[in-house]
Amino acid sequence: MTATTPGFELDPRALRHLADAQVNVELDTGDMVLNIGPQHPATHGTLRLVVRLDGERVVAADPVIGYMHRGYEKLTEFRTYPQVTTLINRIDWLSSFANEVPFIWAAELLMDIEAPPRATWIRTILTELSRIATIYLFLGEMGLQVGALTPAFWAFRDRELVLNLIEAATGGRFHPNFNRIGGLKDDLPWGWIAECRRAMRRILDGCDDFEDVLVGNEIFEARTRGVGIIPAELGAAYGVSGANLRASGVDWDLRRDGRPYLAYPELDFKVWTHPDGDSFARYWVRLQETREAARMVLQLLDGLPGGPIMAKVPRIIKVPEGECWVETENPLGQMGYYVVSKGATGPFRVKIRSASFSNVSILPWLLRGVYVPDVVTILASLYFILGDIDR
């Protein structure tokens, strides 16, 4: 496909070309076929990219996914509703709590239960904390992928504070499994709120550090500006969502524009966008989002209501017959669940729409004609989690 980025239109011929998907890459001669992954540090997980190279230039790239497929959609059919959260925790393992929320929300909608306000607000706080924990890692990781060692360690250092908070509240650092249908397992521990305020201020400082060491760095700009430009319509057509789409100038955030959920309608926050659509824009938008999330947590802590944390829920949870589609703005993008219930203790069918899967689907288009180092930059800037691709 030779279409240039700005005036790109989706014409059927181009789509057919994409559909060919270069499966026969290995049969060609002349160019060098480089197999990046599944054990390659830049793919942070088990993504495999079959890249055909002409010198250092990528002629064609073909992502091969599925090395980590764990069949969660099928497994949910053999679990009860409370058990399902254990599975979906492990989809996007960096922001497990944010994964739980939409599923629990779907179940609550089907059962017509509403969690008490305090539970909703704590859920919102923990969702935003896991957003910080996820994106903060990206802020350092991106530096690592373009060659700067130090920011990655800073990211791990400050992210530790957030993980400690999540651990203190839920008992689990990575897989909290803390949501219950109708509320939460526990209330916040004593002293947690003050600790959280301190951590958020540290996170805001840390964002300034990243801004100093990376955003203002000429080499970082040279490596990321103009690299991997996603045009807004094309991104939307591929189903790219979250910060990746907002970095292309699309002002769309499910926390604000979707069906109202959690405490977001009552919050005052800004949705950041960037007109450029390149890797730098994606980094910048995520940096702003981390700041915004930290401010949101501070705001939520100020307005945290009292009261119970569990609604009245039957001892054995049976969800009445029905279907429900929910979607939330997760750290990596749009996370959706389509839950079908036949009135049993477990779901009849669950369809998971995860952000990374759609986000990496644009890779064959995006990687064409770039240099090998840019492949890494683009992979890092799209920021996917393998568990979120393969489920």
Binding site: P41, A42, G147, A148, L149, T150, F153, I219, R223, P373
Partner: protein, 341 residues
Amino acid sequence: MSLAVEVPWGLILALKTLVVLAVIPLGALILGYVFLLKMMSHMQSRLGPMDPGGYHGWFQLIGDGIKFLQKEDVMPDGADRRVFAMAPLVVVMSTFLVFAVIPAGPRLVVAELDVGIFYALAVSSLSVVGILMAGWASANKFALLGGLRAAGQLIAYELPLILGVVGVVIQAGTLDLQGIVLAQRDGEIFGWGGIGNPFILTQIVGFALFLVAAQAELTQTPFDMPVAESELVSGYMVEYTGFRFLFFFIGEFGTAFAFAALASTLFLGGWAIPGVDGTAADVLGPVVLLIKVMAVSFLIFWVRFTYPRLREDQLQAMAWKVLIPIALANIVVTGVLKVAF
């Protein structure tokens, strides 16, 4: 002044060889420990190794070395066995050869050559051959990419490196490293000879060029695309294990040590201490040189741990469009001023 006892030339040669053989791994160890393990850890809010050896993990690298010696010697199936085995030796050898001409005192120099700096820069570029050999012989696409990148990069940065030094040579009027040190020691700043005249004062541009080009020669960030851990997973050394990898490691830090020593000799006055001469200078010289080497290495590694890496085409553009014109302009200006004063 000559030594009171006649020492047979064979013994002197053996001693000199031993000194070179000892200095490089030792220098590599010191730089590796101080900068790679400790300074980087400090910058990244970690402690680094603390246990081995009892005090701040000083034994860590030696322990690593011992570990590498015990490792199985793995050679890839499709590798060109002889070239694969020789590549690390070539890399380390070029480092050893550089050291032979760097003076550490009025009489402490292994081989005093009239064309010392010319020789040093020439042998330092031998490592390209080793790296290219490693990249080619590994039978690995990542290694090949890394090796070719290294070749392109090292050739491009050889020029600014040499051109940056030419200013010093013009000013000192000699290619001999000992002569360059003496020229700095005996120089005067507008008639004041208190600290001699380190060439960094007049050749600050040359110093900057030399450091940037040295950074590229050492394949360190921001010019580390031949090893590029996040893309090429270590580039040309990806297939190397055990003691062969150890050679590359020694080569990497030994070369950093060598370039820092060259930079201190050329621009910071080398071993010279104002007002100290004779045997005292021979004793204090190495210490002074080591301090300067550490200072220069600090700059090199500070940049290494802070900056992201450039892309291959950006790196070439920087060498040909920025560094070389600046270097040429520097030479012209130095030449004109040399004639004028």
